[in-house]
């Protein structure tokens, strides 16, 4: 305790230097005055009394200086001294300093950038939103089934009404829509949100207002919208009278009631929203029907805000009990359904869930980059400390403590890394929005947004990284330098002996470390690239050449009967177009943001585990769906034109569903009850991916569209023509049926798949960029160390040549020494990689952590770099003039 206080008072002393000095002067003056008074009392004259007092007191200034030493922090003083000296050393060797600072800037900068992405995308993704620490994604799950689903609106309202531990719940469902201004129509992303959305987030519109509570309810009753700042700027050119104007969204006129603040982009990681509409308008924007009163339609994605001081566990417990009550009250729709609070960074329904493994990979890679940068700088420092051996020895001989020397060298290192950290943070600041560069927007008008964010947390961790790396790269050379052999080293420093001395042993160790680190990084990068390529090339189970053409019948005001006949006729016309092999309709196409229908099912003879309600996702598709998408039917038959309202209701299941509910039997001919209808199974389709390539295989079911019509469906065409050519032909056919209708630009299914796997593509880009950076750094480091070690041995080589060795044998000597080291480093690295890559297990996709291709790749690259790094200095060595080498 007293020690702490002393420390603290000295620390204060550092900052209050002037105040303390003044106080000290006053105190000593008082002392002098007392002495003078006493002398006068003893009978002296005033000036005699004063002189005598000064004599008695001794030197006032000296006393002050001595007294000062008692409180000023000596260590800080020394530190400043070291800092000044370090700065001088940096300026004296600008080449060294620039190289070291560049390496470290790269290392620290990439780390700071990755941290800022993690902060901006995963930890605090929503600028301007208050209390993100209490904000959780609110998702539905099904007991016994992996993955997540949404919530139904009635359930959502019940959770909101019956909970006590939550401040608020909000709905935020992403949707794409056509946005028309005058005769222009563009595509934009927006959110269907609950009426309390802006209030709950603490976001105030800068113009107008947010939604009123009553605007959340009433089927299509409140066509109002809040637009984003960007929309206000780009489409309305900052029109100050924007409030009250109208805007066609999906063909329905909406009144603009507010403009969101500039920095608010919505609450969906990955997209910047252009507008928001209240839940009452759901049907207008959701192609799959009116859902506000349907407890079985689970479409809501949302967030929950806990009250302050409530833990996630407590909140979850309360939600569980409400979910149980709902299960009891509404067994038809709710049996087996649960809800979950998920931390924002794991949010499964937006970019966060996809980005977190990607960013974890990135963090690991940039950390390795930092390690390699540290190894480089460590090598440089060591090489320099060998050059400075004379200076060190002199200082030791003159009585400097080893500790003091280490402290000085570490301070110099710290100076390097502080400069580099400042540069690195500047780099991170420039890069904070660079992620977007990896993704051009898939559709013009839709804004992709992956913001990095640099706040005090990022800065703090970056500072930590800076200090940590200083310790890593500066300590070893410093300790080494302080262990100089005093007796031998004062003699002049010259070329060393190739083997045997501790110096070259240390150098060899550093080469070993560098090679093995690089190997780990290269092997890891290779594994990641391989698995990412595998994801990219993985067959989703259907042909991605098929072309999808959305035709917006709902926003054109079609009702069911008219839509039915339109779609039937269009299908017939499209099938006769030149080049078209087959065509079909699907309510929801694979890899889209729209959700499939979901239903609880009953199966003859299948007894579900207690408390579980078997459910299945299903989709309504027209005949030729499987032919068009190239999904094989492994048993039974595909839907036909005659499977319509007059035919018995049927279904096709996928392999997983067949195996789960009819194990050991042929599912064809069996019955399954879906949405209160018994369907006969007529075929089994091969498994395919439905939403993402990484999803677990799940049971899935198809029903014929002609038995389950809907207004809004997507046309799927298999054709030899390009999407552009198809659009022309299709436009003519659509126009012939309805002069007011125009199809939107069709796209291949591949684009749909790519759009949904953007996080994997991002990971490939990032890993490739950082991996190259690391390889580059490693190559520089290896080359520097090798060539340094060869140049140190110049004298010996000269000696050998003077004694008759020819150029070839000198070359062989240098090369073989370098390659021996490299091989040993590779062996070490391979062992380390075998251990470390196992930790990446869940980041890899269908690639073994010991994949020989990745290891072979690392081996070849490193051997190549090492050969080059040895060969160039070795060739230089053979050109050494023996006489001049010996004279050094």
């Amino acid at each position: 305790m007293p020690r702490l206080r002393a420390w603290f008072s000295r620390l204060l002393g550092l900052f209050q230097k002037n105040k303390r000095d003044a106080e000290m002067a006053e105190e000593m003056q008082a002392h002098l005055d007392l002495l003078i008074e006493r002398n006068i009392a003893a009978g002296m004259l005033p000036h005699e009394a004063r002189n005598a007092a000064l004599r008695q007191f001794g030197g006032v200034e000296q006393t002050k200086e001595i007294a000062r030493e008692q409180r000023v922090w000596r260590w800080a003083d020394e530190f400043l001294q070291d800092l000044r000296f370090g700065a001088r050393m940096l300026f004296r060797n600008p080449g060294f300093s620039i190289l070291a600072i560049l390496c470290l800037t790269l290392g620290i900068g990439t780390n700071a950038a990755a941290l800022s992405w993690i902060e901006g995308i995963l930890i605090r993704p929503y600028p301007l939103v208050a209390h993100q620490d209490r904000m959780f994604a609110f998702i539905g799950t099904t007991r016994g089934v992996e993955g997540h689903n949404g919530l139904s609106y009635p359930d959502f309202l019940d959770f909101e009404k019956n909970s006590t531990l939550f401040e608020s719940f909000i709905v935020d469902r992403i949707m794409g829509t056509s946005l028309s201004v005058g005769d222009r129509a563009e595509w934009a992303s927006g959110g269907i949100v609950s009426a309390n959305y802006f209030d709950a987030l603490g976001v105030r519109p800068i113009l107008g207002r947010g939604f009123r509570p009553e605007e959340g309810t009433g089927r299509n009753a409140h066509p109002v919208t809040v637009i984003s700042y960007r929309t206000w700027k780009d489409r309305y050119d900052f029109d100050p009278n924007i409030i009250g104007r109208t805007q066609y969204l999906n063909g329905v006129q909406h009144t603009i009631i507010g403009v969101a603040p500039e920095k608010f982009h919505g609450t969906f990681v990955g997209y910047s929203f252009s507008f928001w509409v209240p839940t009452s308008m759901q049907e207008t924007f959701d192609t799959t029907g009116y859902k506000l009163e349907d407890r079985g339609a689970r479409w809501i994605e949302g967030y929950a805000f806990l009250k302050p001081g409530v833990t996630r566990q407590q909140g979850q417990a309360e939600l569980n009990s409400i979910a149980q009550r709902l299960e009891h009250d509404f067994p038809e729709t709710n049996r087996g359904h649960e809800v979950q609070l998920v931390p924002l960074w794991k949010t499964p329904f937006n970019g966060a869930g996809n980005m977190s493994p990607t960013l974890a990979i990135t963090m690991a890679v940039v950390f390795l980059v930092l390690l390699i940068a540290c190894a480089n700088v460590s090598n440089l420092l060591l090489a320099r400390s060998l050059l400075r051996r004379h200076e060190m020895t002199m200082r030791l001989a003159l009585g400097a403590g080893r500790r003091r020397l280490i402290k000085q060298l570490v301070t110099e290192g710290l100076l390097l890394s502080i400069i580099a950290a400042a540069g690195g943070i500047a780099v991170a600041y420039w890069c904070r929005n660079a992620l977007v560069l990896a993704f051009p927007s898939p559709v013009p008008g839709v804004v992709i947004d992956f913001p990095g964010q640099i706040d005090w947390r990022v800065l703090l961790v970056s500072a930590g990284i800076c200090i940590l790396s200083t310790l890593v790269f500066a300590l070893v050379p410093a300790i080494h330098a302080s262990h100089v052999d005093l007796s031998g080293a004062l003699k002049s420093d010259g070329g060393g002996v190739v083997s045997g001395s501790s110096r070259s042993r240390l150098r060899s160790t550093l080469v070993l470390v560098q090679v093995s680190l690089s190997f780990v990084l290269l092997a890891g990068t290779g594994l990641l690239l391989e698995s990412l390529a595998k994801i990219q090339n993985a067959n989703p189970g259907f042909s991605t050449d098929a072309i999808a053409c959305p035709i917006s019948l709902f926003s054109a005001g079609y009702k069911l009967d008219r839509a039915k006949s339109f779609q039937t006729e269009l299908l017939d016309r499209v099938r006769t177009l030149p080049g078209v092999e087959s065509a079909t309709f699907a309510r929801v196409i694979p890899f889209s943001y729209n959700v499939f229908s979901s239903s609880s099912i009953e199966v003859d003879g299948y007894q579900p585990p207690p408390n579980q309600q078997p459910t299945v996702d299903y989709v309504q598709v027209a005949e030729d769906y499987f032919a068009t998408l190239g999904i094989p039917i492994v048993s039974g038959r595909e839907f036909t034109r005659t499977d319509d309202e007059n035919a018995p209701p049927i279904a096709i299941v996928n392999e997983t569903m067949a195996a789960k509910y009819w194990p050991g039997k042929n599912a064809v001919g069996q019955r399954v009850k879906v949405t209160d209808r018994w369907l006969e199974i007529v075929g089994i389709a091969k498994n395919s991916n439905y939403r993402t390539k990484l999803e677990p295989t799940m049971p899935f079911l198809y029903v014929p569209l002609r038995q389950n019509w809907g207004v809004q469906n997507t046309l799927l065409v298999r054709t030899r023509e390009t999407p552009g050519a198809l659009l022309n032909a299709l436009s003519r056919e659509v126009h012939a049926l309805d002069a007011n209708l125009a199809p939107r630009m069709p796209s291949r299914m591949q684009e749909q798949v790519d759009e949904m796997s953007y996080s994997q593509r991002l990971a490939v880009t990032l890993v490739a960029v950082f991996g190259t950076m690391a390889l580059f750094l490693a190559a520089i480091g290896l080359y520097a160390v090798m060539s340094y070690s060869v140049s140190q041995g110049t004298r010996e080589l000269g000696l050998r040549m003077a004694l008759g060795a020819d150029a070839g044998s000198v070359l062989r000597l240098v090369l073989s020494r370098g390659l021996r080291l490299t091989t040993a480093g590779i062996a070490l690295g391979a062992i380390a990689a075998l251990v470390l890559t196992r930790l990446m297990g869940n980041l890899l996709y269908q690639v073994s952590p010991r994949d020989p291709i990745a290891y072979g790749f690392a081996l070849l690259v490193l051997l190549g770099v090492a050969l080059l790094a040895c060969f160039l200095p070795a060739r230089r060595a053979t050109r050494v003039d023996p006489v001049s080498a010996l004279r050094v």
Binding site: P2, E23, E37, F57, A67
Partner: protein, 110 residues
Amino acid sequence: MAKEKPDLVYGTLDMLILKALQHDPRHGLAIADRIQQMSQDILHVEQGSLYPALYRLEAQGWIKAEWGVSNNNRKARYYKLTATGRKQLSAEEEHWLRITKGIDLVLAGG
């Protein structure tokens, strides 16, 4: 830095200051006077070592300083023993007694 005069045993000034403050708070000059008086004029404390020692003790938290007014109405900085200072004093006294006893024994043995 160590500027104590030879007439004071090295390292004992701190203890003497603490002792001088045992009963009453005093200002710098009064501390010097008190030590001189208690030692029956054998020990003289130089101001050059007194103030560094006072600041050192203050930084350790053993004494506390406050501005006050002296007997003859002058402003002066008064030092007071803290609780930890009191503990420190008794520890140092004990230590000193042991050392001097040892030294006495050695000298007597000659």
